[in-house]
Amino acid sequence: MPQNADKVLDHQPLFLEPEYKEMLARKALGEGLPCAEETAKVGEWTKSWDYREKNLARTALTVNPAKACQPLGAVFVAAGFEKTLSFVHGSQGCVAYYRSHLSRHFKEPSSIVSSSMTEDAAVFGGLQNMIDGLSNAYTLYNPKMIAVSTTCMAEVIGDDLQSFIRGAKEKKSVPEEFNVPYAHTPAFVGSHTTGYDNMLKGILDNFWKGKTATPGTAINIIPGFDGFAVGNNRELKRILDEMGVEYTILSDVSDQFDTPSDGEFRMFDGGTTLEATEAAINAKATLSLQEYCTQKTLEYAETFGQKTASLHYPLGIGGTDDLLTTISELSGKPIPDSLEKERGRLIDAMADSQAWLHGKTYAIYGDPDFVYGMARFILETGGEPRHCLATNGSKVWADQMRELFASSPFGSQCQAWAGKDLWHLRSILHTEPVDLLIGSSYGKYLERDCKTPLIRLTFPIFDRHHHHRFPVWGYQGGLRVLVTILDKILDVLDLKTNEPGETDYSFDLVR
């Protein structure tokens, strides 16, 4: 009997017990799967250049993409505002998916409602769902703002949010003055980063529309869609406070996705107050930390006379230098010595460890700005980000990546892959292998198939806990990224050198 009450066997060891191995072998006889030789042959072929060419020639099929759909970004950005409930108009299953997806990454609650449209609403439109839905959400959950976005069902049938919300207010679903910003977020356009942009613009429009700005001294900062927002936003605020900058973070989700366990469930903990959002019209500038999450929003901010600037995920030395100098330029505040010291400490650490990092090759995938920022830091360590892939990356992004590669001798063999997926990356890694892979939890399948060690540094991370609670931005964040990469390199080396009498001549105590 394989199981044991004293030491209970989990699935992993349990199914390796002989009783189960034999049972599964018997099962295999009736499964009708191809024989082992054929599977091995095809498996080898999938690693070849021939397969790669066919794979890269795909035009219709997408396999293992590294992107999600617009409403995910919309509900993410809305969560950063004070007592704001996201209301997604359309089919209800979508909302169950966004909630699960965010909870699996953050290990936190994610509260979003749906207008639960079904077949009849597909025929007659979802106005009644909007009327009832807003009334219920407002009454039950008592939010200060309801941010409405859409699933693709509502988009395909052409529901008009503006007139529906107006109609709902006429029916007294919510008070006339109650804030109901909205954004159309069709899943068949762009990705979650587009949805972030659209919803943020919708929220700002709710407060700014028809008003004239009186330029003040503060600046607005938009973090963008970021799985590390909890750690990053807090680090960002520390840096801004250190510089003495007056600022408004437009959508601060850091507390929303990191509420304490003390017996109380806090459904709402968005960090950007509605008052501050309204006042943000008077900022003298708006800075986006992720260009591809904010293109429309920045254009919108410009119409109020604000200066705008955008960065690519401020990570590492150059990325953080740009962050500080841009903030300094926009705010007029100097960069304090304390931050310069932090810079020096990160460089000190990079110098101490440079021998382990120099010449290491990487594949990096994720959202366009993350990939840019990460690749830039790798170049600074003397590493080569050989394959940089963004499923939601554009041709313009690929050109920006090529410029980045051209700026460093370590970039000469690097390639940007825009619009490609992780099954493309599998072929690329088999044919042009690299030392390390940087990405999300989905990369574990590439790690398994290509034997490329995976470093989890971007959303979503489902199978490791709490990484997002620590920053990767700024010099301090850079230190953490550096240590994460070094740990992986040295752990892999230890695993390769730990066979007594075989490989352990290299099992060095000091590295």
């Binding site: 699935h11 349990l14 009736g30 099929l61 089919s91 998916y97 909870s103 693709c152 069709p186 068949f188």
Partner: protein
């Protein structure tokens, strides 16, 4: 006589009625009227008829009705029921999430349907195949793109035994003819291609997606090929076991041990061949009645195959299930069943001796899908735990009727509960454990109440069978008796 037999557990039905009244009071009038039909308290049934049927209580609520907008229903959609539940685990087929990228992305590798195979070569469960619709596909239709997608799958995944097309919302709205594409491509290639009309707006929950997925097996898989299979007298199919964390394997080992031959396992670790030859077996054993009773009824009607519901959660139900299954066969099988039950009794005794003292009298609230809110009840009872409340996301009337066989008088019953209701019920009852899904896990834990995910087994499992019961017992113990729950209150805060 032990203490718990002297003072049998009694749910506080009066408190539960009060809680229902309180949550209903919070709704706007129109929604209150609709929600009140979905909430009730189980009433004891003492009639001789009830006794004869083994009914303990009546759980009288309305179910399988549209969710109310804006209330935060926990439910999913038909696509989730078809791709996520029924079709997704069929391992040697490629399942295309047909439409925009999100549905396939969010459901990618989330159900823990274990399988054996070389992923990406001969099996494909933990992969995300999508047509990734763009605006032009919505405007001009996606049939051409689907055809090309099928061609590309054929080229890049030559060992795939078939393809299913899992429709996302836009497909049914833009008038695409995926059936025509399937017929055309099948004609060209000979490959099994299954179009599934599981658009997310159909029906009221995952449930219709299960039904549509079942119908697609009937219409697009059965009787399409000459199936070579020499039927034996002990051939059975296991239907509605998705092999979450290996559940189907810890069940199959018992069925084989009593002398049966499992021809097909649906759909955890299943192959297309297993589905095709299923009609040749002698008996369908159905675990998840809610998601797969449809195909069992069809096989009964068309092939004269009987079907039997069973429950492999916890030793009481496992023993009953094995005896019930064996009763369909000859004396040898029946003797084997007794031997197997006796053999595992040693393990069961050891598990109960170890864990019951730590769990006795602990109360549990459940809120799961369409089966487990009743099926796991006796497993908890086996450990001395009691159910204070239970409810389903997407059950039908026959599920609530069956629930009466499991739950005791005064149990709080909630159908399609909203997050608001769940929070208030949990706050009011403060059970020792809540078993529900990932969306519910973190709010409940913040309240200081231990929680186990009862869809994914919280990344553990299997929970089926005797081997699974050991893991189940250990997991409930580690959830409830972890020291973290005692650390919530800062020492400088005054005691409440």
């Amino acid at each position: 006589m032990s203490l718990d037999e002297e003072v049998p557990f009694q749910n506080d039905g009066e408190l539960h009625q009060k809680l229902i009244a309180e949550v209903l009071a919070a709704y706007p009038d129109k929604s209150r009227k609709r929600r009140q039909k979905h909430l009730s308290v189980a009433k004891a049934l003492d009639t001789p008829e009830a006794k004869e049927e083994g009914l303990l209580t009546e759980c009288d609520v309305k179910s399988n009705i549209k969710s109310i907008p804006g209330v935060m229903t926990v439910r999913g959609c038909a696509y989730a029921g078809s791709k996520g539940v029924v079709w997704g685990p069929v391992k040697d087929m490629v399942h295309i999430s047909h439409g925009p990228v999100g549905c396939g992305q969010y459901s990618w590798s989330q159900r823990r349907n274990y399988y054996i195979g070389k992923t990406g070569v001969d099996t494909f469960v933990t992969m995300q195949f999508t047509t990734d619709f763009q605006e032009k596909d919505i405007v001009f239709g996606g049939d051409k793109k689907l055809e090309k997608t099928i061609d590309e799958i054929g080229e890049l995944f030559p060992l795939a035994k078939g393809i299913s097309i899992q429709s996302e919302c836009p497909i049914g709205l833009i008038g695409d003819d995926i059936e025509a594409v399937s017929r055309k491509k099948h004609k060209e290639t000979g490959t099994t291609i299954v179009p599934v009309r599981c658009e997310g707006f159909r029906g009221v929950s995952q449930s219709l997606g299960h039904h549509i997925a079942n119908d697609a097996i009937r219409d697009w898989v059965f009787d399409k090929k000459d199936v070579e299979h020499e039927a034996g007298p002990y051939d059975v199919n296991v239907i509605g076991d998705y092999n979450i964390g290996g559940d189907a394997w810890s069940s199959r080992i018992l069925l084989e041990e009593i002398g049966l031959k499992v021809v097909g396992n649906w759909s955890g670790d299943a192959t297309l061949a297993e589905i095709e030859k299923a009609p040749k077996a002698k008996l369908n054993l159905i675990h998840c009645y809610r998601s797969m009773n449809y195909i069992c009824r069809h096989m009964e009607e068309k092939y004269g195959m009987p079907w039997l519901e069973y429950n492999f959660f916890g030793p009481t139900q496992i023993a009953e299930g094995l005896r019930k299954i064996a009763a369909h066969f000859d004396a040898t099988i029946q003797e084997n069943a007794e031997k197997v039950i006796a053999k595992y009794q040693v393990l069961v005794d050891a598990i109960i001796a170890k864990y019951k003292p730590r769990l006795k009298g602990k109360t549990v609230m459940l809120y799961v899908g369409g089966l487990r809110p009743r099926h796991v009840v006796n497993a908890y009872n086996d450990l001395g735990m009691e159910i204070a409340g239970t409810g389903y996301e997407f059950a039908h009337g026959d599920d609530y009727q069956r629930t009466g066989h499991y739950v005791k008088d005064g149990t709080l019953i909630y159908d399609d509960a909203t997050s608001f209701e769940l929070e208030k019920f949990i706050e009011g009852i403060r059970p020792d454990l809540v078993g529900s899904g990932v969306k519910e896990k973190y709010p409940v834990q913040k309240m200081g109440i231990p929680f186990r995910q009862m869809h994914s087994w919280d990344y553990s499992g299997p929970y089926h069978g005797y081997d699974g019961f050991a893991i189940f017992a250990r997991d409930m113990d580690l959830a409830i008796n972890n020291p973290v729950w005692g650390l919530f209150k800062a020492p400088w805060k005054k005691a409440a």
